[in-house]
Each structure stands twice: as structure tokens, then as C-alpha cells.
């Protein structure tokens, strides 16, 4: 036991003395939260728009003013003709072209209908859809104002209530997701690098001939990273709740328990990776390249799982992060207990046992 | 390559050479000379500062203070010129394990400026001398340790440098292989190559023309093996070392 503690101490020194890595480890979560909280948003802003106003009357002027009021859209230029649209889009700055037909106001007065066209650069279909949506909303609002005095019969009004997240704060989604990603990546990365490092530098052999049992070596390596993972999760939770008001509506104990479980899953995955290769470089490439994008994209962190094709959803089920993401969101935002997330908990447990047993088997055979 | 300095009889001169890392003084004001063609041994226990000193002489590490001249070039301002004229065999590593013998020769020889034809000739010579014909396309990792070391040495001098630095070259091999290794060193020295070798094997000191002993960063003894044995009234270098160590303890 004493030997074991000395070993843990050695691993602790490894981490703490490498202060450059430590700084990055601890600085990473707050910086990512900052980015997600303030920089990354799907709300459109500062969209450059070009206009072809073939009418140039009071109504089109009013409409243009409404569209360019506020900071959604920025007036870029007035194009002389339709043939210039292609060139403008190619330059890449303008994302929408608004076209008013000639005699716009006249037509409205006489026939009650006027036409306009919105052309979006749909290279980014998401942005295009938002742009068209926002523009239409502004136009529709203007239209409603025009028809204010009329009492339109047969009106269905709707009232909306947003549950769990009244203000539609993006933070509610990304703070739990961020915890998931950071825990997964850091734990898996660190463990795999730590073990392969000893192998690569040749110090592993010395460990193996010592009286330490393989399981003790592994455990000793895992313990410091477990603590590190918990620290990181706490940092994210603290920043998330103080700066962005993300609540923890469920049981703190349950959250802690699930967190530890997930860290163990990630650590055991890192362990598995370290048994596949002897080189730090390979271990790193596998954990970073192989884990980062799939964890970010398939866990439901950025893109909702329901939108993906079924085949991908099946695949996503093999990503441990997916399950933890569900569990942590439920605990934090819905405040539910184990009775709701028992499935996710069991699955995570299963993953962990699976990874550890394969690793142990490989570890033993290599001796 | 023409030497632009005064023709001197010394390959290496060092004067009060010092290297500190923060509070720790690894090399403490050492001074010595090495004549051309000499086999000079740098002895001492592990951690005495031998490797640090050598790395300064090779231009791998900048001295904190003091002067040194290698192959006529200044160790502060002319490190690149030094490197053109020396060979080096590091303690940790010799040749790339995942490349073949021939590929390693092509690499190092090429970097030192040897042309294709020359390389071919030298490769053939090397293979013959070491009796390794037929093994040139084997990966280095397939060679046993003793062979790796002999190969590393041969590659280190493939460009006929004036001096070759060897950092603990015979670690971990049996005495017979060590003996064979030293034969290679003798052969190189007989061709005029200055050999600067560090080691903690005291019996290897006997093979050197002159030795210097380092302890805790300082040179505590210097001279030919015979001079030192006479001085300390013993019959081998091991005992010389023990006697010196003891006398330092008493101080």
C-alpha cells in the first residue's frame, strides 16, 4: 500500500511539475466557456445585404429602414442590375440580395399586392435559412402594421412557454456539453499519453520488474487524473453557474457520482488506447484525432441527435460521451434523479468495465 | 576544408570552462588540453559533470563562462564551424532504429556533405571492416546492442572529422565487445583522429593516452594512466579513483 502511495506521488509530481501543461489544463475550460458563451452563437448579426430597388418610393424606403435598423443586417450596396448579383456573391461579403419590383407602392395601393424577392447565398444553408427568416419577419411585421386598422377575423393567437430555460440561454446546452467533452478528451488523452510515455522512454520496464502489480501501476496512474478531471468539471460548473446562470437543479451528489463514473469511463478508454501502441505520438493521434471530432459532433453537444440519420444515431450510441451528455443535462437542467437516468448510468458502467477488462488482458499478455 | 586558424598542436583547449543551471554548478571551472591524435579519457562517476562538459565542447550547450577552442574554433561564436569538424556519439542514442544501416549512413554522411560516390565507397569499406556484408539493408533495431554501438561509432567518423566525441559509448555490453570497440577507437586514432571519450568504467582509462577525472564538476586529477598510478601508489585506475574519492571525503 505504501508502495502504491509513493507511486501515486510520483505521478502527481509528473503532472504538477509540468506547469506548462497544468496551466493549459486549467485554463482551457474557462476559455472554452468564454468562447461558447460569447462568441459562438447561431443568432445572425452583421449580415451584409445588397439591394436592388427598382421602385425607389416611400414604402420601399420605409421597408429598407426597418430592415437595416438594428444590427442584424448591414446595408452593403445598391446594385445596378440583376446581372451583378453573381459577381457580388462570388466576392463573398454579401450574403443576401433584396429586390423590390418597380412601382412597388403603386401596386400595393391599386391591387393590394406587391412583389419582392429575397435571394440568399445558401453556401451555408443554416445561415441562409436564418437570414431569410429574419428578413421575412421584418417584412411581415411591417405588413401587419400596414393592416393595423383592419380587424382581421378568425385569428388564432398562440402563447409559448419555454420550459427549463425560459430565456433560451445557449449556455444551458453548452455548459453540460462542455463538461462532457473536456472530461472525455482530457482523461483519455492524459492516461494514454502517461502510460505510453513510460513505455517509450523505457521506464515502463523498470516498473514492470518492480514488485508493483500491473493493476497497481494502472490504478496509480489513474488516480491523479481522476482528481484533475473533477477539478476541471468543478471549474466549468462554477463558471457556468456564476457567469451564465446555468443551474444545478438536481442532486449534487448524483452529479458528482455520474461525473466520477464518466471520468472513469474516459480514463479506461485512454488505458485501452495505451495498450494498442508503444509510441506517445500514436496514442496522441488516436485519442485526439479519433476522439475529438466524434465526441464533439456525435454526442449531441452541437448537433441534436434527433436530426441525424438513423445509422449515425446508432453509431453515436457507441460513443460514451453521448450517454453522459444526456445524464448530465437531465440532472442539471431538469433536476431528475436516478430513476430517469438509470439507463445511461448502467451503460457507462458497462463501457468502463469493458474497456478495463480488455486493457488488463492486453497488459498481461504483453508481459 | 582549409583551416583559417593558426596551426596548433591542440585539438581541444579549455580554460576555466563553467556551466551552471540556476544554483547548481554542473561544471566548475575546468581547464585542460587535448593534443591532436590523442585518445583522451574523461572519467568520473555518474553525475560528475562529464556529459555536460562534453556537450559544451560539441557546441550543443553554451558555457556559462570560461573559454574553449575546438579544432581551432571558438565555442561561443563558431559552433557551426566546430560541428563541421567533429563527430559525436550520444549516450542515449546512436542510429535510427527504424531505418536500415545503409539509410543511416546515407543520412549522416549526406548531412556532413559527402557525395554519393564517396558514400558508396565508404559504406563498402565500413561493411568490410566490420564484416557486415549482406546486413546493410537490415533495420538497426535488428542488430544486437554491441553491434549498434560499433556501427554508431563508424558512422560518427564517416566524414573523417578531426575529433570524435564519445559519450559513455560502451554502456551495457560485455567486456569482449568493449574490447572490440576500443580496437576501433585505436584504429581511428592511428589515422590521426583525436578521440575524446567519457566513461565511468575505470578500466577503460587504461586504454587512453591521457585521462582526467571529474568529481562534482571539478577536475580532480589529470595525467597519463601511468603517472596517476604512480602518484597514488596503486596498480590500476579503479584504485586511483577510490583513493581520490576517499581523500575528498576526508576534506
Amino acid at each position: 500500500m505504501k508502495r502504491f502511495l509513493y507511486f501515486v506521488q510520483k505521478e502527481y509530481f509528473h503532472i504538477v511539475r509540468d506547469y506548462r501543461s497544468l496551466i493549459i489544463l486549467l485554463a482551457m475550460p474557462p476559455i472554452m466557456i468564454l468562447l461558447f458563451g460569447y462568441a459562438i452563437t447561431n443568432e445572425i448579426r452583421n449580415v451584409k445585404v445588397a439591394v436592388i430597388d427598382q421602385s425607389k418610393d416611400q414604402t420601399t424606403e420605409d421597408l429598407k429602414n426597418k430592415i437595416f435598423a438594428g444590427n442584424y443586417f448591414i446595408f452593403d450596396s445598391e446594385l445596378a442590375s440583376l446581372s451583378q448579383i453573381e459577381k457580388t456573391f462570388r466576392k463573398g461579403k454579401v450574403k443576401e440580395v433584396i429586390i423590390f419590383e418597380p412601382d412597388f407602392e403603386e401596386n400595393l395601393k391599386r391591387t393590394g399586392t406587391a412583389n419582392m424577392q429575397l435571394i440568399a447565398d445558401a453556401t451555408d444553408p443554416n445561415v441562409a435559412a436564418s437570414i431569410l427568416n429574419y428578413t421575412s419577419m421584418i417584412i411581415r411585421t411591417y405588413q401587419m402594421e400596414m393592416n393595423e386598422d383592419l380587424q382581421i377575423p378568425l385569428s388564432i393567437k398562440t402563447e409559448v412557454r419555454m420550459r427549463y430555460n425560459e430565456e433560451l440561454r445557449g449556455a444551458f446546452l453548452f455548459v453540460p456539453g462542455l463538461i462532457t467533452i473536456i472530461l472525455m478528451l482530457v482523461s483519455a488523452m492524459m492516461t494514454s499519453i502517461s502510460i505510453t510515455r513510460e513505455k517509450e522512454l523505457g521506464t515502463m520496464e523498470a516498473l514492470l520488474v518492480s514488485p508493483m502489480k500491473p493493476i497497481q501501476i494502472i490504478l496509480a496512474k489513474i488516480v491523479p487524473y481522476l482528481i484533475l478531471g473533477v477539478i476541471e468539471a468543478v471549474i466549468i460548473l462554477v463558471v457556468g453557474s456564476t457567469v451564465f446562470g446555468v443551474p444545478i437543479r438536481g442532486s449534487w451528489l448524483l452529479l458528482f457520482f455520474e461525473g466520477i463514473l464518466f471520468i472513469l469511463t474516459a480514463l479506461s478508454l485512454g488505458l485501452l488506447i495505451s495498450t494498442i501502441t508503444d509510441s506517445q505520438q500514436t496514442a496522441l493521434m488516436i485519442s485526439l484525432m479519433g476522439l475529438m471530432l466524434p465526441t464533439m459532433l456525435l454526442s449531441g453537444f452541437i448537433y441534436p441527435l434527433a436530426n441525424m440519420p438513423v445509422s449515425i444515431q446508432i453509431f453515436a450510441n457507441f460513443v460514451p460521451a453521448t450517454w453522459f451528455n444526456i445524464a448530465i443535462k437531465n440532472i442539471m437542467l431538469k433536476g431528475v434523479g436516478l430513476e430517469i437516468i438509470w439507463k445511461e448510468t448502467l451503460i457507462l458502467l458497462g463501457f468502463t468495465i469493458f474497456f478495463v477488462s480488455i486493457s488488463l488482458k492486453k497488459f498481461k499478455t504483453r508481459l | 576544408m582549409k583551416k583559417l586558424h593558426k596551426e596548433s598542436e591542440y585539438s581541444i583547449t579549455a580554460e576555466d570552462l563553467t556551466k551552471t543551471f540556476g544554483n547548481f554548478t554542473a561544471v566548475d571551472s575546468i581547464s585542460f588540453n587535448v593534443k591532436k591524435g590523442e585518445i583522451f579519457g574523461f572519467l568520473g562517476a555518474n553525475g560528475a559533470g562529464k556529459s555536460t562538459a562534453m556537450r559544451m565542447l560539441c557546441g550543443l550547450s553554451k558555457p556559462t563562462s570560461g573559454k574553449a577552442c575546438i579544432a581551432g574554433f571558438d565555442v561561443y561564436h563558431e559552433t557551426e564551424k566546430i560541428k563541421k569538424n567533429i563527430g559525436y556519439m550520444s549516450q542515449k542514442f546512436s542510429l535510427y532504429e527504424d531505418m536500415t544501416l545503409v539509410e543511416n549512413i546515407q543520412f549522416y554522411g549526406g548531412i556532413y556533405g559527402l557525395r554519393k560516390k564517396e558514400l558508396k565507397e565508404k559504406t563498402a569499406l565500413l561493411l568490410e571492416k566490420l564484416e557486415l556484408k549482406g546486413h546493410e539493408n537490415n533495420l538497426i533495431k535488428s542488430f544486437p546492442l554491441g553491434w549498434k554501438q560499433k556501427l554508431a561509432f563508424s558512422v560518427a567518423i564517416i566524414h573523417d572529422p578531426e575529433i570524435v566525441f564519445l559519450d559513455e559509448p560502451t554502456g551495457g555490453v560485455d567486456p569482449v565487445t568493449r574490447r572490440q570497440f576500443w580496437e576501433l577507437i585505436y584504429e581511428a586514432a592511428s589515422r590521426g583522429v583525436t578521440v575524446f571519450v567519457t566513461t565511468h568504467y575505470m578500466d577503460e582509462a587504461e586504454y587512453c593516452k591521457r585521462v582526467s577525472m571529474m568529481s562534482e564538476g571539478k577536475i580532480v586529477a589529470m595525467g597519463t594512466p601511468r603517472e596517476l598510478k604512480e602518484m597514488y601508489q596503486v596498480d590500476n585506475m579503479d584504485k586511483v579513483f577510490i583513493k581520490i574519492a576517499r581523500s575528498r571525503e576526508d576534506v
Binding site: 459562438i40 447565398d121 445561415v127 382581421i152 378568425l154 385569428s155 409559448v160 430555460n165 509510441s279 | 557546441g59
Partner: protein, 376 residues
């Protein structure tokens, strides 16, 4: 020049003998491209909607029918009580539920106005906003339909006649079907190539440092720029090859349009990859162990990825973030790859991006060479 080639040959020989790395460098990006491109979409499908219909009238049933028939919604449940609905929302079985109060049809025809309520699970704020929008538009469309049906009602007819209507025609250029993959696949490709390049160069030098093999090189007369360039070239070739492979796969599997000039794309990519390699080398130079290098590389790659314009448009970001993206090489390539592939933009259109990357490349590689010390 000779020396650069010698180093290049050595690196190639070492990489080609490392089967594991080869698999990772070429296999992993491809696999990820094939799988992940299918995952990344914000397109709303299958919004799970539950119904609490307290009116059960012909109008209310027609309204529900609209949701049933919509391609965005999937009807999951008919609730008997509000409690049932709330539980379903909590369990996640539905994303929102619609409540049609008792007397809905009566109020609509007698009082001329009626109200519906819906409750949305807003944990995912943007998804909730979109779901809410779609729900509202289904209801609005239904409303319009109702009005037009009852047009013979005199007051309605008169008012409808007086109503002013702006007709909007929508057009989506370059991607008329709003196919998200058309956007995502080139973006993912850029990401994957970037990661390979960044990590290869980020680990390489520092690995030699950690294993001690770098000493044997530092002691030779090789010049610093020869060393770095010699290591840069093989990775550059690998990156370009990965890109080419990825493009072929994108075309074959995803039918990504290639409207613009492919040589221009490769020329741009060529410069782009040197920037990433330079960053990797710089990291490698200033770190001592592979572990440290790994952390720095990871740190930068996450920030680069998030601020690249792939997951969020750069224009949406606040000014300080937009300024930051100027230091992100991915931003330039992400922008240009789509411009070239989908819009057919030419050299003059991307010249700014290319110019910035050229400057970046020279500066960063220069820095790496400068900071590399053969003598410590």
C-alpha cells in the same frame, strides 16, 4: 538544398515504416469524413410533438392533422391531462406539446379569436426557438387557410380585400435544396486535414527532443532552416494527399459540387498547410516533452475549430471574436474552400485570404526556425 532532401528522405522512410501512423494519417480522416458529415446538420426533422386536445372539435382535429402531415413534426402522443404532458416533456419523449383549450372552435367563430398554448423543452435554446417558429408557422398557415375558406362571410371578404399583402419570393443560390452536407463536407475536410498537419508537425520535433535523437542532429553542421524545411515537406505532401483523397471521396460519396478551379483550391491548400505545419513546429520548438506539445496543440486546435466559421458563422460573432479569427488560419481556408467549390470564385476573390495566409506562413515558419536552438 541537398540537406533538405536528405532530411526529407529520412522522415519519409520513418513514416512509411510506421504502419500504425499511416493508418491514422490516411485512414482516420477518411472514416471520420464518411461518418461525421452525416451527423452534422441543424436541419430540423422529427420534432416530437405531443397533443393535449381539450376541444376535440373539427377545427382542432384539422389543426392537429396539419402537424401530422408536416415533415418537420412527428406526433408522439395524445395526452389526457396536463400532468401526463408534463411527464412526457420531462422524460424527453416529446420536445413540445400543444394545448388546444376547450371551446376553441366556438371562440374562434363567435368571438373571432381563440388561443392555443404550447410548451417547449428549451434546454437546447436554438432548437427550441426553431421548433417554436415552425409550430407558429404551421398554426399561421392553418389560420390563413381557415380565413380563405370562409371568404363568403361578408365582413371577412371585405377585410381580406382591404388587406395589403407583400408577396415574397425566396431563392437560395448555390445550394437550392439547402443541403447541409454541401456546406459541411468541405468544412469537415478542412478540419481533418488541419488536424493531421498540426499534430504531425506539433509532435515531430519534440519527439526527437524527448527521445534524445535530436542531439545527433544538433551536433551536425546542418542549418536550422534546412532541418525545419526538410521536416515540413513530407508532412506537406501528406496533407495535400489527404486533401486530394478527401476531395475524391466527397465528390463520389456526397456529390459535392465542384464549380470552381481545382488547381486554385490546391494552390490555396498548399499555402494553408504550410501555416499549420509552421504552427506545429513552433509549438514543438518551445516545448520540452510530447505531453506539453500535445496540450498546446490540443488547445489551439479546439480554438481554431470553434472559431473557424464551420459551426458558427464568423459574422455572428462579436467584434472581439471576429478580430481573433484573423489569427486563425482555418478561417481563411474554410471561407475560401466553399467559395471555390460551391460558388466558383476566382483568384481575385480569394486573393485577400491567400495573401494573409502567405504572410502568416512566412512569419510563423520564420519564427519556428529562429526559436529553434541547436545550442541550448
Amino acid at each position: 538544398m541537398r540537406e533538405i532532401i536528405i532530411i526529407l528522405i529520412k522522415e519519409f522512410r520513418q513514416i512509411s515504416r510506421n504502419k500504425q501512423m499511416l493508418g491514422i494519417i490516411f485512414g482516420m480522416p477518411l472514416i471520420q469524413l464518411l461518418i461525421l458529415a452525416n451527423a452534422a446538420t441543424f436541419e430540423m426533422k422529427n420534432i416530437n410533438i405531443g397533443i393535449l386536445d381539450r376541444d376535440i372539435s373539427s377545427v382542432s382535429r384539422r389543426l392537429v392533422g396539419k402537424f401530422e402531415g408536416s415533415r418537420y413534426f412527428k406526433l408522439t402522443d395524445w395526452f389526457e391531462s396536463e400532468k401526463e404532458a408534463e411527464i412526457s416533456l420531462e422524460k424527453g419523449d416529446c420536445d413540445l406539446y400543444l394545448t388546444i383549450p376547450q371551446g376553441f372552435e366556438k371562440d374562434l367563430f363567435k368571438e373571432n379569436s381563440a388561443v392555443t398554448f404550447f410548451v417547449v423543452n428549451a434546454i437546447d435554446g436554438s432548437k427550441a426557438a426553431l421548433a417554436s417558429q415552425y409550430t407558429s408557422s404551421v398554426i399561421t398557415d392553418f389560420n390563413q387557410e381557415l380565413r380563405e375558406e370562409n371568404i363568403n362571410h361578408s365582413t371577412i371578404a371585405m377585410n381580406l380585400n382591404l388587406m395589403k399583402n407583400i408577396n415574397i419570393e425566396y431563392s437560395n443560390w448555390y445550394n437550392p435544396e439547402l443541403n447541409y452536407k454541401t456546406f459541411m463536407v468541405p468544412g469537415l475536410l478542412v478540419l481533418l486535414v488541419s488536424m493531421v498537419s498540426l499534430f504531425l508537425s506539433g509532435m515531430n520535433l519534440v519527439r526527437e527532443k524527448e527521445l534524445g535523437t535530436i542531439e545527433q542532429i544538433n551536433v551536425t553542421p546542418i542549418k536550422k532552416y534546412q532541418l525545419i524545411l526538410g521536416k515540413l515537406l513530407p508532412f506537406w505532401i501528406i496533407g495535400m494527399f489527404d486533401l486530394g483523397l478527401g476531395l475524391v471521396v466527397s465528390k463520389l460519396v456526397y456529390h459535392i459540387p465542384i464549380v470552381g478551379s481545382v488547381p486554385l483550391l490546391f494552390a490555396f491548400a498548399g499555402v494553408f498547410i504550410t501555416v499549420l505545419l509552421g504552427i506545429g513546429f513552433l509549438i514543438s520548438t518551445i516545448t520540452e516533452t510530447q505531453q506539453q506539445s500535445m496540450f498546446l496543440t490540443w488547445f489551439f486546435s479546439v480554438i481554431f475549430i470553434l472559431l473557424s466559421g464551420l459551426f458558427t458563422a464568423i459574422e455572428n460573432m462579436p467584434q472581439w471574436a471576429q478580430t481573433l479569427t484573423y489569427f486563425n488560419p482555418l478561417r481563411y481556408f474554410m471561407d475560401s474552400v466553399r467559395m471555390i467549390l460551391l460558388k466558383g470564385s476566382g483568384f481575385s476573390d480569394i486573393s485577400f485570404n491567400m495573401g494573409m495566409l502567405l504572410v502568416y506562413s512566412v512569419v510563423i515558419n520564420g519564427l519556428a526556425i529562429l526559436l529553434y536552438k541547436k545550442t541550448s
